[in-house]
Chain length 407, copies 2
């Protein structure tokens, strides 16, 4: 039995006209597959309206009740869309997470999927050609509704595909695939036909918001091929899949950037064991996510530590640093918000040396000063002044040959 999972976001189900486009995609899915599982988000704006309602009722809404409230958004979507399917002669029914169930832990508002009952799905597919499943939500062992956090419908879709054998997953959005970089910055940006899970993870975490990062992790873990494509065109989109030899021939697959960066430097810390823990422990406790971290070589038993955080976390970060500065012995606390990071990503760089050097050379030739560097197996990240971001993206895109179609 060939099963296809198709996921549609809030703008795709916003109104009856949009849903008719979705209907067309489901009909195309049924033409090439035996069964289709449709995963829907809440109608655009519904989730925010419900969250605003909760805020009106309570300054700190109970999380379990908030999930009970917010999950009605997807329930409305699946009921309406299933009516449309049935009116068009398609045998279909709606499915809420507790009806399957999609079991999660009880981390309300940000729950993790633990298990999906595939037997229920296979049994229902004997009676129906299409199952319309509410995305974004699950149910705990003791039958309380949970939500999976922002972008959770992507994760629902991939998890459903993972639960069913040899099942493909299509994620429909309002762009027609994953690009080598942001087309708004770089006109030479090119849609990729194919990208590896690892590359997609790095691109997603850098703010290439096409696909939610947790859904990519899920897809990677269970080897689910995911195709990102547009509800409003017939473009085949981008296939996210496991890497193969041809991918490794490509040095760099994409260039990502992130302007939401603020840099903090602690000067002249004593270079003794426990200093780093004393700095980052309190930040972690207060929920501040630290991104890049650099510690320079010690001089005279003292060292500098520099790290970056999200800009909205900067005030909190500085407050925490002030409160511990005496204890950790920092001579000075510096900060800078006019910074941004640019990354070159590619599974191919694992097997090639010199990628970093080529990147640095290209940027330096254009007079861009490199503030921080951090590298991983398949990524080079460079912190620069924010005003150079667009230029840096275009330089790296050109340097690594992404301007031409080399696929």
């Amino acid at each position: 039995m060939k099963i296809l999972v198709q996921k549609f976001g809030g703008t795709s189900v916003a109104d009856l006209d949009a849903m008719k486009h979705v209907l067309g995609k489901v009909q195309k899915g049924l033409a090439t597959h035996d069964k289709v599982i449709v995963v829907l988000s809440a109608r655009a704006g519904d989730t925010n309206k419900l969250l605003a309602l909760a805020q009106q009722w309570s300054a700190a809404p109970d999380k379990a009740e908030s999930d009970c409230l917010v999950s009605t958004g997807e329930q409305v979507s699946i009921a309406l869309f299933t009516m449309l399917l049935k009116d068009n002669g398609i045998s279909a029914r709606s499915l809420l997470s507790w009806q399957i169930p999609i079991q999660t832990n009880d981390d309300f508002g940000n729950a993790r999927i633990l298990d999906i009952d595939r037997d229920t799905l296979y049994k229902l597919l004997e009676s129906y050609d299409v199952l319309t499943v509410a995305g974004f939500q699950g149910v705990t062992q003791d039958k309380r509704i949970t939500t999976l956090g922002r972008g959770g419908s992507d994760t629902s879709a991939v998890a459903l595909a993972a639960a069913l054998d040899s099942c493909e997953c299509e994620i429909y959005t309002d762009v027609d695939g994953v690009y080598t970089t942001d087309p708004n910055i770089c006109s030479a940006a090119r849609k990729m036909d194919c990208v590896s899970y690892e590359e997609m993870l790095e691109l997603a975490s850098m703010g290439a918001k096409v696909l939610h990062i947790r859904s990519v992790e899920f897809a990677k873990k269970y080897k689910v091929p995911v195709r990102v494509r547009s509800t409003f065109s017939d473009d085949p989109g981008t296939l996210v899949t496991k890497e193969d030899a041809s991918m490794e021939a490509v040095l760099v697959s994409g260039i990502a950037y992130d302007k939401d960066q603020a840099r903090v430097t602690l000067r002249d810390l004593p270079d003794i064991p426990g200093t780093a823990a004393a700095v980052f422990g309190p930040l972690s406790e207060k929920g501040v996510l630290v991104d890049m971290i650099i510690q320079n070589t010690s001089q005279d038993g003292h060292t500098d530590i520099t790290f970056t955080v999200s800009r909205r976390d900067l005030p909190k970060t500085l407050e925490i640093m002030q409160s511990i500065s005496e204890k950790i012995g920092a001579s000075e606390i510096l900060h800078d918000v006019n910074v941004a990071k640019v990354s070159a990503i590619g599974v191919g760089m694992r097997n090639h040396s010199g990628v970093a050097a080529r990147a640095f050379t290209a940027l330096t030739q254009e007079g861009i000063n490199i503030l921080m560097i951090s590298t991983s197996e398949i990524k080079i990240t460079i912190l620069i002044q924010e005003k150079y971001v667009e230029l840096a993206v275009r330089i790296l895109h050109d340097t690594f040959g992404l301007d031409w179609d080399i696929a």
Copy 2:
């Protein structure tokens, strides 16, 4: 363990201010009971908005999907109200019908409650002081959401009270109890302190819309004392309970009326077996509810049949009668929409003769012509011209001594 069930309708949960009144009632309930189960309707207007949405999507929305859609209204109510309870230091959680479960048959849109799992409720009451339950909905054996039809939240509340031992039930509304007749018509109308299930059933079916008829049937069957009272006052309201000796001392408890009546007469039908079935069979098949029926004594082997239907069903009824008139052999089909019915209701009339005669005499003295008469054990119903309704209600209210407080 003293448990109280409190039910609040759509206007009582319409917004945050209204819900604060509900909070006050729950706090009062907790002052005199160990635990409170709160049953809520959807916020005023929400259900109609959702039904309108379904109509926009489909000319004939799938009933199961419509229930999935509409049931989100109560889900929103219970989540919001539970947030409010928790913010006020009350240990509480929301409960959807499938989480208990409240089992129903699969008559979507108009389902009947089959069973309620009382063990789940008792177990949860060990951990929480208040359970906020979504009214109006249930779940089928194979886990699909159903709704109980208009006014179903009253039924949910009474059914929950019935499921728990020695549990009282309060139905909060925007009037402060059940009246001897409509105060808008008769200024002498008096709030009753107490009314029997049987009387309430007759009052409810006559359009005294305080309490949904199915909830009264449920209360009668399981002997649940139901108190009807106002969310917005401290009046003790009206207790609906099993009849006792003092009730029988009262001849007539209330006067009800219904203007939604249309009369149809079939002339000169052959008085042979099967005629009535030939008339009312097709009406029942097409969903037309027939109210009063009268068949006169046969003359020359022919008879007249007169019956009443709701006014909106009159065109359909006449159409059906035309189509079968030849087959049943009616010489003429007459109809009249300017009619209405007035009823005197009281368990006391079972033990007293002459109640009907007193009613007819009183009406006739004022020149009101009686068109049809129908009597039951505890009710006398009279069809009259619509223009006399208000006058007839006042005459009967006075005739049976309801103007004075005789309780």
